[in-house]
Amino acid sequence: MARAWVFGDDISTDDIIAGRYLSKFEAEHDPRWLADHVMENVDPEFASKVKEGDVIIGGKNFGCGSSREEAPIALKGAGIKAVFAESFARIFYRNSINRGLYVFVSPGVSRGFKSGDEVEVDVEKGEILNVRTGETFRAEPMPEFMLKIIRVGGLLEHLKGRK
């Protein structure tokens, strides 16, 4: 059962993964170093609660701040399948696509969920159903070339595939 985790507006990449955890990952490239501390600045318990396939619901300007690509890597590493938000900050949005994390701009979504709600997600259609309320939210369509990059797992795989 996939669940939603709800965060507010202006969640920064410092919130997603704090600066103090970057250098170890940069040196060793093991996503676990990040996943263990994901969202720690906002909710220190989050890393122990989140499960594979869960979804984050954000407000506006999700992923603002630092350009660290560790942010989507941390979310993916913790099992997050997709982020639905009112809007995203641009570098995080690009980085997520480049790392194969589904990010959906979905107006109204932040009011439709409580943390822990059971959800059903269709990443191909960009839809998320709140099982508790029965309400479905649809994301704005994403350009096909971006979807292609996400589907193969990110920019690196995409570049390799084009060779």
Binding site: D15, A18, G19, L22, S23, R68, N95, N98, L156
Partner: protein, 418 residues
């Protein structure tokens, strides 16, 4: 078709006569910058692509600045990664750990040139727009693909024009101005947009001050921030520019998404309160806030103009016993000039600690980390929860003058009263 300065730069870089906002273009990159904290992932990803050589070893700038000198084995490993990569690829412009913060080194060494397109693996790459270029932050995968191809796709941004009129009052700085603007527009007020500064007021703003303003463009979500080059820009670049350059300017009838006008003559010092950069108040409304630490450093505010005003306030005075004042010049060059002018002596006599040029206390991953319950008044650019250490600490952002005045009094203080 009329174009903005940003649109013209994207058009040139994409080999086109014209572009319009919303279009996706593939553009040639003039300079690509990485540093020790985000660079190793770029290098790792570059290697994973299977490519052997970077597209142009003379167009990549590498700076060690975030954790210098190394404060952990991991940081040391990251520095080793940069050194190996630089020597193996023949990277011409590699600045190892004592040159300064990347966003000072790039303009100071003459890489940020009018009309050019620059990307950096760091969000504050927006800084260089102060010299009339388009510069944007990117992540590791995008940067790795730049390393391979020398190109990157961009969505041409809409432009927001900010027209400045007048002259800032004594001890009110461009930091106060940019905080005011961010407070008005909001943390996502310029999301995906170019922020273009304009107006007569610019002629009264030094290159140091312009770098501060463009640095913080990203704090309202901007892709790039830009200032049209003028006589001050030309003089700054004299004897410094790495290559020849061609300035470009917005057409008078170019289109803007929004236009905002500011008469800056009456501005009062501003402070961004915890925990977001757009939580801005005039200093008179901040109330009595005791501080444990005062940080005069970072890519936002550790240039000569910043150190001079702080020294003017601290001269012959003592930092409050409760406060730790940390000063870190933005670069080796700034450090040497501050020594020559006697500023460093003033800081030390006042009770400050001088740290090496680098990011230092700005992001809680090197030195000057805050403990639970501690409060810092900082000249840097971000006050996110946990940014400078414990998630139970608080960061207030202010100008270098405000930082100096607050260090003396132990509470956040209007520099005009110090």
């Amino acid at each position: 078709m009329a174009m903005t300065i940003t649109e013209k730069i994207f058009a040139r870089a994409a080999g086109r006569d014209e572009v319009s906002p919303g279009e996706i273009v593939e553009a040639r990159i003039d300079v690509a910058m990485i540093h020790d904290l985000t660079g190793p992932l770029v290098i790792h990803t570059f290697r994973e692509t299977g490519a052997e050589r970077v597209w142009d070893p003379e167009r990549i700038v590498i700076v060690g600045d975030h954790q210098v000198p190394a404060n952990s084995v991991e940081a040391a490993l990251n520095h080793i990664t940069l050194r190996k990569f630089a020597s193996e690829q023949g990277i011409k412009y590699f600045y190892d750990i004592f040159e300064g913060i990347c966003h000072q080194v790039v303009p100071e060494k003459g890489f940020a040139l009018p009309g050019s397109l620059i990307v950096g693996a760091d969000s504050h790459t927006t800084t260089y727009g102060a010299l009339g270029c388009v510069s944007a932050g990117v992540g590791a995968s995008d940067m790795a693909s730049v390393f391979v191809t020398g190109k990157l796709w961009f969505r041409v941004p809409e432009s927001i024009k900010i027209v400045l009129d007048g002259k800032l009052p004594e001890r009110v700085m461009t930091k106060d101005l940019i905080l005011k603007i961010i407070g008005d527009l909001g943390a996502d007020g310029a999301n995906y947009c170019a922020v273009e500064f304009a107006g007569d007021g610019l002629s009264n703003i030094s290159v140091d001050g312009r770098l501060t303003m463009c640095n913080m463009g990203v704090e309202m979500g901007a892709k790039n921030a830009i200032i049209p080059p003028d006589e001050l820009t030309r003089r700054y670049l004299e004897g410094r520019a790495k290559w020849s350059y061609t300035p470009v300017y917005s057409d008078p009838d170019a289109e803007y998404k929004e236009v905002h006008e500011y008469d800056i003559s009456g501005l009062e010092p501003q402070v961004a309160c915890p925990h977001s950069v757009d939580n801005v108040k005039p200093i008179s409304e901040v109330g009595e806030v005791e501080v444990d630490q005062a940080f005069l450093g970072s890519c936002t505010n550790a240039r000569m103009e910043d150190l001079r005003i702080a020294a003017e306030i601290l001269k012959g005075r003592k930092v409050d016993k409760r406060v730790r004042l940390i000063v870190s010049p933005a670069s080796r060059d700034v450090y040497r000039r501050a020594l020559d002018e006697g500023l460093i002596k003033i800081f030390v006599d006042a009770g400050a600690m001088i740290e090496p040029p680098g990011c230092v206390a700005c992001m809680g991953a090197h030195v000057g980390v805050l403990g639970p319950g501690e409060v810092c008044i900082s000249a840097s650019n971000r006050n996110f929860r946990g940014r400078q250490g414990s998630r139970e600490s608080e960061v207030y952002l202010g100008s270098p003058a405000t930082v100096a005045a607050s260090a003396i009094n132990g509470v956040i203080t209007d520099p005009r009263d110090a």
